[in-house]
Amino acid sequence: MRTRALLIWFVLFCASTVFGQSGGELRFCLRSDPKTFNPLLVNDESSETVRYLTAGFLLRVNRITQQPEPELATSWKVFDGGRSIRFKLRPGVRYSDGTPFSAADVTYTMEKLLDPSIHSSTSDAFRSGKGKLATRVLSPTDIELTFPAPIANLANLFDGVPIISSSSPQKEMAALGPFFVAEHKAGAFVLLKRNPNYWKKDSQGRQLPYLDSVRLEIEQNPDIEAMKYERGEIDLINTVSPAIYDKLARVNASLVRDAGPSTDTEELWFNEVPAAPIPAYKKQWFASTAFRQAISESINREDMSRLVFHGHAVPAVSNVPQSNKFWFNQALRPHRFDTAEALRRLQADGFRLENQQLRDKNGNAVEFSIVTNAGNRSREQMATMIQQDLKQIGIEVSVVTLDFNSLLERMTQTFNYDACLLGTVNGDLDPSSQMTMWLSSGEDHIWNPKEKTPATGWEAEIDKQMRIEASTLDFNKRKAAWDRVQKIAWEQQPVIYLLNKDSLVAISPQIKNAQPSPFRPQTYWNIEDLMLARR
């Protein structure tokens, strides 16, 4: 009898260590102190992490299936051509301080969010047209929101709207998410504790989250962060560099994971602003589609991925990675590395190669500079590789690194540059969030911002397709329009997309139920399901 009891105890102990157990503290690092704990004012990565772990949302986009899933809203319906949305709210939900959650909180949150005086970056996506948001509380668990103009991706936008309480004495610090902020020591750590009133339960009826607390240590240096992880002092790193990834993989392959192509891209574009203070002959080169295509074909993206990102990047087709299941245009392929074809294309456009120096039809030597931000090693290496690649077709490139403010000034105000190499972080999987980049009148239309009328026929066509994409609710029509935009951009190359970087994460084998995703937040997007096997 005693032996049997011991055996049962032993089996239970093993199961708890192998399969994970409730409780325990998850630890990982933030790069800096969160600038705010007000979820509506979040504008930095550290604050976003705290918001993700503490705030409640009406719905959440599952980072694996990429589909919206019910959270505080049990269901929703978009109608009136994308102008209105009706939510059915989950009954009986309470904030961390015990205050009940109701439709009044959703009204209060949306009013606060759209208040121009608080300058919330989350609110921009909801400003579809002139006029105010109309809210109608149908019952304590039913609410209808009507916007001044249709919004194509309306439901998914609520993935970024944290609901705050209209009546809690703790105001925005009252949490509806799995954790609440228990302690913050500036420059040292933020301690989050389990929200005792969190509404979610697992399939066996156990209260979630499984973890007791999350400790976010402030650590600026990624190398020190990696050492802490290797020593087991922290449990995960949300994003690791290729060098650290390889180092950790050499120690133990199970310490790191490549979650696939992320939404982060690296790209090069030429200055096509007509009023730019650069020589007229350069403007002619940069405006030539054949020239841009030839440059794209002369860049060895495979080598770039292998050497700069240690193989953890894929040649890019557009700024939408292949991992974006719904929006990637499957018909497109990355441009081939082919210097012979590039030279043929340039010769057809009037350029000629003389003594290993490319010259245009007026005899000007083809030389230009690539600017990039100082201090970003991988980008400097990419620029150096482009320099070497373009030398093969007789083009002299000078690489200039500038501090970010100077770079931004040249890009957006003086337009005094030839070409720029930068990266883009796309937080949203839906391309409707990229309107300001693709519309010719957009501020972020990087190669020629704020055009009064489209400078080219293909830009006019992109404008038309983007408006269709952003104003219809029919998914197939939206997809067709976005596919057309990708195709035009792929042919015309106003932006030469180089690589889609992989999402590299480090997550301890002791963490159970982890499902790293290529999309933010890569490792802890399902925080309530994470378990620690044993500390």
């Binding site: 060098a243 050497l307 600017v371 100082a374 090693r377 150096t384 000078s398 690489v399 501090d403 100077s406």
Partner: protein
């Protein structure tokens, strides 16, 4: 000459000769990318291995020394000349002239020169060659680095002016430029030499610091500062100690300058 001085001289001589004859000594061009041999360890073809882009580390080190060892002394010379002029005139004239010159010196000392360098770098034309860019960077360092030395020179000048031989010269009617040329400058020579030698490692390190901010010498031209900057990702270092070579060379060169500087001071 002591053994340590001979060793210091030998280090600088070797570094100088290797830099001058870099194209003969280096196993490859500093910009040549052997992409299929990237991050390789030491071998006969690449004695210090290759970097992330497959460039020969030894070649880059030798060419990097050329940039730093030739331009840092030039910047030091520039700053010493500035310091001699400003400090010498202030010390010689005294009174309100000294107060004005020293106020200007204090202003230079108080300037956030790093931001000034960043701003000036941002204002330079983008199509400049890497060599022109590095020359301008060192020229800026030289033009901005004279202020501490000027204070020392001013104090030294005042000391020299109080000496008996200067009083005697003045009593015989010697003044102005003649006094400066005949008595002041020879009296300040040890201090000027010390300032010159002291500035060289300072400027090598300043360029290294700018390199760490990505604002030093532009790619593909190497410099000691830029090569030391590559050690930032130190997680890679334990299995690849040969990557420390630029740091070792930088320490040896600065150490050699310091040894020779101490010798100068002793003689002074």
């Amino acid at each position: 000459m002591k053994l340590v001085h001979k060793a210091a001289l030998a280090v600088l001589l070797c570094a100088g000769l290797a830099s001058i004859f870099a194209s003969y000594v280096a196993p490859a061009g500093y910009e040549q990318q052997f992409r299929n041999e990237a991050q390789a360890g030491p071998s006969l073809h690449h004695p210090l291995g290759t970097d992330d882009l497959g460039r020969d580390r030894l070649a880059r080190l030798i060419y990097g020394m050329r940039v730093s060892l030739f331009l840092a002394p030039l910047a030091a010379l520039l700053s010493t000349i500035f310091a001699a002029v400003v400090g010498g005139i202030a010390g010689l004239c005294g009174g309100w002239v000294e107060r004005c010159f020293m106020a200007a010196t204090d202003l230079f000392l108080a300037l956030p020169w790093l931001f000034l360098l960043i701003t000036v770098r941002a204002l330079l034309p983008l199509n400049m060659s890497p060599m022109a860019s590095v020359i301008i960077t060192f020229a800026l360092l030289g033009m901005l680095g004279w202020a501490p030395a000027a204070r020392v020179i001013c104090a030294g000048a005042k000391q020299v002016l109080k000496s008996d031989f200067v009083w005697a010269a003045r009593a015989r009617g010697c003044g102005g430029l003649k006094l400066m040329r005949m008595h002041l400058l020879p009296g300040l020579r040890p201090a000027l030499a010390a300032q010159f030698f002291l500035s060289i490692p300072v400027f090598i390190i300043a360029e290294a610091n700018l390199g760490a901010l990505g604002l030093g010498v532009s790619e593909p031209l190497p410099s000691l500062g830029g090569l030391v900057n590559e050690l930032q990702d130190f997680v890679m270092l334990p299995p690849e100690p040969w990557r420390l070579a630029p740091l070792v060379v930088l320490i040896m060169v600065i150490g050699a300058f310091q040894v020779l500087l101490n010798k100068q001071e002793v003689h002074a």
